[in-house]
């Protein structure tokens, strides 16, 4: 028995390693199969072959279409708005169904190692949400494909020509994902113990591997449109499918979406837990959902902390690909959207911190740390205000005269990126501090080197904060622009050092620590509303950043090779875009409520008529939470 378990674990670990290696080192693999090469050919090949028929030349080197305005079907409603809404809904649910199985797998694994069945139950309950979301994702995906083929036929013809058989692979993977998902969910109880559990975990791994492959495949379409590769100047395909997929922005987007999906999924299931916690009719149910909400928030914030760094990499690659595109995003017409981004991320961080502070009421040991909260709050608010300070102001000539220039004499210096980089890094560090003191609040260290360990932690915080401020001020205000960006690497490293060393140090410092009693459920209702704020802000933020990512192409369907000549080929006002984001967010919330309702419904059971008078009212249909 022991031996077979050992082999199961070995096989499972190998699968995990292979998947991870495949994902992260995918850049070194190239697809050379003939199956993919049917639709593509290299220019060199065409020019050096001794016999090349006209038909071949025409088939293989067809430039991107150049549609005129008349080529776009007019259905009386803005085509862009339709695609905008449907695509965004598909992306929301796609992110949810890709993220949830990922942390469900981790939670399930945690349940196996700790032997705590709460983890297993919670993971199963999360999957219940994901299973309905999956159907909705597919429905919106189908609608999106229909809308695109109907409203943007030339673009879709072109993309089909460029990606060819890869789109079929996507479809096949979708079927595979569906099959594995259903087996994983419905086989949960059948494969719950012993070796069967490892089979179940392997299915979870396979589900995530297929999901991640689906995501990176679909990402390649989006990144091709932003930074086309494998095609020549006029859009004719000259590379193989791997060269088409592996554009300069593909991996940055893959990483960014991968992390963001986890944060988003954590936030959404956190809202589910918050709703159930608030609606709980028994203290036991409230305690369970309070714990579930805490775990979800933990996942969301933990995934969220490195997200700005993935975003930084993406933006750096955009600048490297096309400085013009980068500046259009961050210094041109789209720059104001980053002020909105600051508002949203500020909301997320403030809500996440507030939830942690409120949660400290669960344990009496938290009194030791409550004095820190007001200072952390102060730093967060100040940094938030710096972050939302705009760089450019829309002023009248009278206002410019009164100010003595187009920028405020004091606030002008806070509107530029170096100040914002300082602010955002400090916000992340102090959020981690909230997280750290929360984690410490129910423990008392027993190791002999406790004081030295704490002193080291304080020193790391101080050095990192000083480094972040120094790098931002010195490089940001006393050197030229090129170094302003370079300094942010130092800042990022400082922040990551605090986070990693904090986690590692606490792991050793609190080994064998005395645990103080925690009372799950003993938390204010306001804290649960913070858990609603997180997914709302995350959803809106995803809509916003997706819009920015798409809009940097300006009037191009496929940047530099296929122009958008449709009636919607302009960048709308921020207000219009904001209204669209609100529409999709509200729609998403309504659909999520539907999912929660379905999830509840599946757990409800109508009592037979003869028994209805024998049970208390609270335990009838839907009574038990």
């Amino acid at each position: 028995m022991k031996e077979s378990r050992y082999y199961s674990r070995l096989i499972w670990s190998m699968l995990l390693l292979i998947t991870a290696a495949g994902f992260f080192w995918s850049g070194t693999i190239s697809i050379t199969g003939e199956w993919f090469s049917g639709a593509v050919a290299s220019v060199e090949k065409v020019s050096t072959d001794t016999v090349v028929t006209e038909e071949d030349a025409e088939l293989k080197l067809v430039p991107a279409p150049r549609p005129t305005r008349a080529d776009y079907p007019d259905i009386g409603v803005s085509s862009r708005s339709i695609v905008w809404v449907v695509a965004q809904m598909h992306l929301f649910f796609g992110a949810l169904v890709l993220a949830v199985p990922l942390f469900v797998l981790v939670i399930e694994l945690l349940g196996v190692y700790t032997g705590d069945s709460r983890y297993d139950d919670m993971a199963h309950e999360f999957m219940k949400i994901s299973i309905t979301a999956y159907s909705i994702t597919a429905l919106f995906g189908g609608t999106l494909a229909l809308a695109l083929f109907l409203l943007y036929p030339d673009l879709m013809t072109y993309l089909m020509r460029v990606f060819g058989a890869q789109m079929m692979v996507y479809a096949i993977l979708f079927f595979l994902e569906s099959m594995v998902l259903y087996i994983y969910y419905y086989g949960w109880d059948a494969l719950r113990y012993g070796n069967a559990k490892w089979v179940h975990l392997s299915l979870g791994l396979l589900l995530n591997a297929v999901g991640a492959t689906l995501m990176v495949t679909a990402n390649s379409w989006a990144t091709f449109m932003m930074a086309p590769s494998g095609v020549n100047e006029v859009g004719a395909v000259i590379g193989n499918i791997w060269e088409v997929m592996k554009g300069p922005l593909w991996n940055p987007i893959n990483l960014h979406r991968f992390i963001a999906n986890i944060a988003f999924g954590g936030a959404v299931v956190g809202a589910y837990a918050a709703y159930k916690c608030l609606a709980a009719r028994t203290a036991e149910a409230r305690a369970h959902y309070d714990w579930m909400g805490y775990t979800s928030n933990f996942i969301a914030i933990l995934a969220f902390l490195p997200l700005p760094f993935a975003g930084y990499w993406l933006m750096a690659e955009i600048y490297a690909y096309s400085q013009q595109m980068g500046i259009t995003a961050m210094g041109g017409i789209l720059a104001w959207l980053f002020i909105i981004q600051a508002v949203l991320i500020g909301t997320i961080l403030l809500a996440g911190n507030y939830y942690l502070w409120s949660g400290m009421s669960r344990t009496e040991g938290s009194k030791r740390y409550q004095g820190f909260i007001k200072y952390i709050a102060m730093v967060l608010v100040i940094c938030f205000l710096i972050w939302v300070t705009p760089n450019t102001l829309i002023l009248t000539s009278g206002e410019i005269a009164a100010l003595g220039g187009s920028k405020h004499p004091l606030l002008g210096a806070l509107g530029i990126m170096p100040a914002k980089n300082i602010a955002v890094n400090l916000m992340l560090i102090f959020t981690f501090m909230s997280f750290q003191i929360y984690r410490r609040s129910d423990k008392v260290a027993t190791v002999s080197w406790e004081k030295a360990g704490n002193a080291l932690m304080v020193a790391i915080y101080v050095v990192a904060i000083v480094n972040i401020i120094f790098a931002g001020v010195y490089y940001g205000y006393f050197t030229n622009t090129v170094y302003k960006v370079g300094s942010s690497v130092m800042q990022v490293v400082s922040t990551l050092t605090v986070i990693i060393s904090g986690v590692v140090l606490d792991a050793f410092l609190y080994r064998g620590a005395k645990t103080l009693p925690s009372h799950w459920g003993q938390v204010s209702n306001r804290a649960q509303y913070a858990l609603f704020a997180l997914p709302i802000a995350f959803t809106w933020l995803m809509a916003l950043m997706g819009y920015v990512r798409s809009s940097v192409r300006t009037h191009w369907h496929v940047y530099t090779v296929m122009k958008d000549t449709s009636p919607d080929n302009f960048i709308p006002t921020i207000g219009y875009a904001g209204n669209m984001m609100t529409i999709v967010t509200v729609m998403f919330v309504l659909f999520v409520l539907f999912i929660f309702w379905i999830a509840n419904l599946s757990g409800s059971k109508q009592l037979p008529p003869y028994a209805i008078n024998k049970v208390p009212a609270t335990e009838r249909v839907g009574g038990a939470a």
Binding site: T481, I536, P572
Partner: protein, 386 residues
């Protein structure tokens, strides 16, 4: 605490309504923020018709300024934020001369105008110190070639930008005003269907106006009869798409129009490259030597002659063409029938002011039939502008 907890548990009844109101309030707060910010639309570049008949240097400079901040997107990077040299803060004519004398300069420009033109269409030739792509040691420019996507300024628009850059600091504007054509409709010799044979391609794009191919053609450019012995297919392709990158010894840069890549279909380009590289394209006809005796003229003779002899490679006719030679849009108003005929047969006898002699091949009379010459002369004599 217990009493509070009990209250919390009891308050579950209105959870849905409260959570919805809270969520909606938050969403509306974000929406309000977006609606309070400055509301601007980013229009796609609009193809504008410019009345060049009434164009003055002042309005040409103004056009350049609007392109600098608009379609050209120059001001996106060239501002005082340090992303690219602050063009508005410098006298660009003085800067151009300074850069021309820099030992790092490797281009072909000889004066401020050609330097500015070169820096717009091939920004990598000279990268200002500190502004190169990261890690390139200032050898690669992050600026896109302005005549290619995504900016795609036309030749006239590029000249307008140069005029603006010269004029903004009080320098003389040396670029000449364009003839009466649409500012955005410059090189668009784009037939509805791709040429079917190599001969058609050579005729359509007027290659023989400058190059000797299959026994006939001009001598302004190098002969292409055995080009495969000195250039690879890749080099041949490059010399069509970007002709000034490498110049054959004994010939000058800047003569061959740089817009063939925009005019040709990919298929046409590849057929031509394959032919010149010495490999025959199946299904295409081999080019034949044209002569005055075997050219039969039917239909619209003038238009066919213009296409066959590639007049638009150097001259603007009917709204499109190159700028190497004078525009023929209103040649009928400047020259009479005999003068036009003489300009075709003996092009170097009388030279239009502002254009060099010796550029137009003198052998058109040998290549054209009398009917073709007559049709062309009569057609051009009717071009009186207005």
């Amino acid at each position: 605490m217990k009493a509070k907890q009990t209250n919390d548990v009891k308050s579950g009844g209105n959870v849905l309504a409260k959570s919805m109101i809270f969520s909606l309030g938050l969403v509306l707060l974000f929406t309000l923020t977006t609606n309070l910010l400055p509301q601007m639309e980013g229009e796609a570049p609009v193809e504008q018709e410019v009345d060049l008949g009434s164009l003055t240097i002042e309005s040409f400079v103004a056009l350049g300024e609007s392109l600098f901040t608009g379609k050209g997107t120059c001001s996106l990077c060239h501002n005082d934020l340090g992303r690219a040299p602050d063009i508005l803060g410098f006298n660009m004519v003085e800067i151009a001369i300074e850069h021309l004398n820099d030992e790092r300069y490797k281009g072909n420009a000889t004066d401020a105008e050609s330097y500015l033109h070169e820096s717009l269409v091939d920004p990598g030739i000279y990268v200002v110190k500190g502004f190169g792509k990261k890690g390139s040691n200032d050898t690669i420019s992050p600026m896109p070639a302005i005549h290619k996507p995504p900016v795609e300024l036309s030749d006239i628009e590029i000249n307008a930008v140069i005029a603006y850059l010269q004029a903004k600091d009080g320098n003389d504007v040396t670029v000449s005003l364009p003839a009466k054509v649409s500012a955005t409709a410059v090189p668009s010799v784009e037939p509805t269907t791709p040429a079917g044979t190599v001969e058609e391609i050579i005729t359509r794009y007027g290659c023989r106006a400058c190059h000797k191919i299959a026994g006939s053609g001009g001598e302004l450019g190098p002969g292409l009869e055995q080009v495969d012995t000195r250039l690879s297919p890749g080099k041949i392709r490059q010399s069509i798409i970007d002709p000034d990158v490498e110049i054959t010894e004994g010939f000058s840069a800047g003569i061959m129009p740089g817009n063939f890549a925009e005019q040709m279909r990919v298929k046409e380009l590849e057929m031509l490259v394959t032919f010149l590289a010495g490999t025959e394209v199946a299904g295409s006809e081999k080019p034949v030597k044209t002569s005055s005796t075997n050219a039969r003229v039917t239909g619209n003779e003038a238009e066919k002659a213009i296409a066959q002899f590639g007049c638009q490679a150097c001259h603007i006719i009917s709204g499109s063409g190159g700028k190497l030679g004078p525009s023929l849009e209103n040649v009928g108003a400047r020259l009479d029938v005999d003068q036009i005929r003489q300009s075709i047969i003996e092009p170097n006898v009388v030279i239009t002011e502002g254009f060099p002699s010796g550029v137009m091949p003198p052998n058109f009379a040998e290549q054209m039939s009398d009917a073709q010459l007559d049709a062309l002369v009569n057609f051009l004599a009717e071009q009186k502008g207005g």
